[in-house]
């Protein structure tokens, strides 16, 4: 789809909207959903190193590269 990219392709400080979660792992999908990482939510990338830190709604979440790659976003 147009404009879709994964979280690792954003720059620090960018905000975007989550389009979908692209994970083959059921457990990851469920955990991310429980943390509120869901399509339609706004996401801000706060930092990339040593781990990814994102802000979704009022929640800040740390994640590794594999998880960040599975979060597909659309940049505004």
């Amino acid at each position: 789809m147009n404009g879709e990219r994964n979280l690792t392709e954003l720059k620090v400080g960018d905000d975007a909207t989550i389009a979908r979660i692209d994970s083959a792992d059921d457990k990851i999908l469920k955990k991310l959903m429980a943390l509120g990482v869901l399509p339609g939510m706004k996401v801000v990338l706060l930092q990339k190193f040593p781990s990814y830190v994102i802000k979704v709604g009022n929640t800040r979440i740390a994640a590794d590269e594999a998880i960040a790659r599975s979060i597909i976003v659309v940049k505004k």
Binding site: M33, L38, G40, P50, R60
Partner: protein, 488 residues
């Protein structure tokens, strides 16, 4: 919008037609009473909730039809149903929230935002991490708990009052030499087992749990986890494992128990192995630091060598052990002032657990030491292991320290401490002995928790690796130090 209008809109919420159709069909097949609405049961079934599935399966004769409906509905979507349902629900939630919630920027939050930021960015986060470890662990637990408090309770209360009193009591009232030794004297249940529990364990573990609860309650631990995640990935763990690993510096036994919170069996096995091998507990750390602090170079070699073993063995274990790669994700709560009530509650409940679970093991250890000494088994083991000590360039007396190290981790180190004071060990020998002893088998309490948590096979495999490895590492270090011509 008025409250009533809002409620009406909420109640009007419907999932998309395909889901609603499935819900209606499942509802028709639910005959028994579930305490929650049939709609909820149907939704849980569609989301593959295992618990509710088992209940429905046992109560409804029409379960095959229900399964068929769920299967058909699944085919209609490319994503799993729990995902579809959550997304639709979230959309409604967002809609409601956007109508009623106003966000404004609060200037009071500036400081906390700043703190939140500097604790997670590597440039500032890592120095902060080191400061937390230095003041929290080294200064408070190491110097105050393991130093000042232990000196007072053990050196003053036990050595001056309780032990002499108990010893004189048994000398007067118990004529049997063996029973006297069991209860009192150098290795007795009261004079060693209980003294150990109250005079060494209580202050060290107490200060550690107190500090750990403060750090935990402030919301700092997830930050620690995200800072070390990359490093931990290389040893087959994820950032979350930082919690049991840090706990290990307090008590490896408790840490081994806490490692059950790790998600995969592979991670639990690696964590257990590393805790048993390369994380010295606070009691052991205290004695080793005391012993080597006069020789900073020796202390540095010890720390570096142990850290290298930790990374190397972790790395190799991650390569060898089968299983899925660890993933890391964690919510980062805002930093908060710890609440006194929470801290006291957590510290007290952890110490309670500690005393109920671990102290009996130390009493048993006293009894085992007593049996070993009475039957001469210890003397035999010490004699057999003397050649091993020689191979490491160590005097034969060190064998005893190693043997007792199994019963109390720090007792082995304390044995070395005595040898050093008597001038039996030189600097190189002290370093080699400290490294070998740190790596060498876990204490008896940790061993029993390993058996309980990881099972016999895994535990034996871990011990079978650690035992020769510890001596091999000591042997290599001795060769290196000799070749480098070190003379401490």
């Amino acid at each position: 919008m008025s409250k009533n209008e809002l409620l009406e809109n909420c109640n009007a919420f419907k999932y998309d037609d395909r889901i609603e159709k499935a819900i209606r069909e499942i509802e028709k097949n639910l005959k028994s009473n579930y305490n929650i609405s049939k709609r909820s049961v149907a939704l849980l079934l569609l989301q593959e909730d295992e618990e509710i599935k088992e209940i429905v399966k046992s109560r409804e004769s029409s379960f095959p039809e229900i399964s068929e409906i769920i299967k058909r509905t699944k085919m209609l979507f490319s994503e799993p149903l729990y995902y579809v349902i959550t997304v639709q629900r979230q959309k409604k939630v967002d809609e409601i929230v956007s109508k009623v919630v106003v966000t404004r920027r609060d200037s009071k939050k500036l400081i906390s935002n700043w703190l939140d930021r500097i604790t997670v960015q590597p440039l500032t986060g890592i120095p902060i991490l080191l400061l937390v470890l230095y003041f929290g662990l080294y200064k408070f637990v190491g110097e105050f708990g393991a130093g000042t408090l232990v000196d007072f309770i053990e050196g003053n209360i036990f050595e001056n009052y309780i032990n002499p009193w108990v010893n004189s009591l048994v000398t007067v009232y118990i004529s049997n030499e063996a029973i006297r030794e069991l209860l009192a004297m150098e290795y007795g249940i009261i004079t060693l087992g209980l003294r150990y529990a109250l005079a060494i364990i209580l202050p060290i573990v107490g200060t550690f749990f107190l500090m750990f609860s403060i750090i935990e309650d402030s919301g700092y631990l997830p930050r620690l986890a995200l800072l070390v995640d990359r490093l931990f990935k290389s040893i087959g763990l994820n950032g979350r494992a930082v919690i049991p690993m840090t706990l290990g510096f307090g008590c490896d036994t408790m840490a081994t128990l806490v490692s059950r919170t790790l998600e995969t069996r592979r991670e639990r096995v690696i964590a257990t192995l590393l805790l048993a091998l390369a994380i010295p507990c606070s009691a052991q750390l205290g004695v080793i630091m005391g012993m080597l602090s006069g020789k900073p170079a020796a202390l540095a070699v010890w720390a570096l060598f142990i850290a290298m073993v930790f990374v190397l063995v972790g790395y190799l274990a991650a390569q060898v052990l089968p299983g899925e790669k660890p993933v890391f994700y964690m919510e980062i709560p805002p930093l908060r002032w710890p609440r006194i009530g929470n801290i006291i509650e957590k510290t007290v409940s952890r110490m309670q657990w500690y005393f109920l679970e671990i102290v009996p093991v130390f009493i048993i250890a006293s009894v085992l030491i007593w049996i070993g000494r009475m039957t001469g088994v210890f003397d035999a083991i010490i004699r057999w292991s003397e050649p091993l000590m020689m191979a490491l360039g160590l005097p034969p007396e060190t064998a005893e320290a190693f043997l007792f190290g199994f019963f109390r981790r720090d007792y082995g180190a304390a044995g070395l401490y005595d040898l050093q004071k008597n001038g039996v060990l030189n600097g190189v020998q002290m370093t080699v002995a400290s490294v070998t002893l740190t790596l060498f088998v876990p204490c008896i309490a940790q061993f029993s928790v390993m058996l309980k948590e990881r099972g016999l096979k895994t535990t034996l495999a871990i011990v079978a690796f650690i035992f020769p490895f510890a001596f091999f590492a000591g042997y290599i270090l001795n060769l290196i130090l000799k070749a480098a011509g070190v003379a401490w």
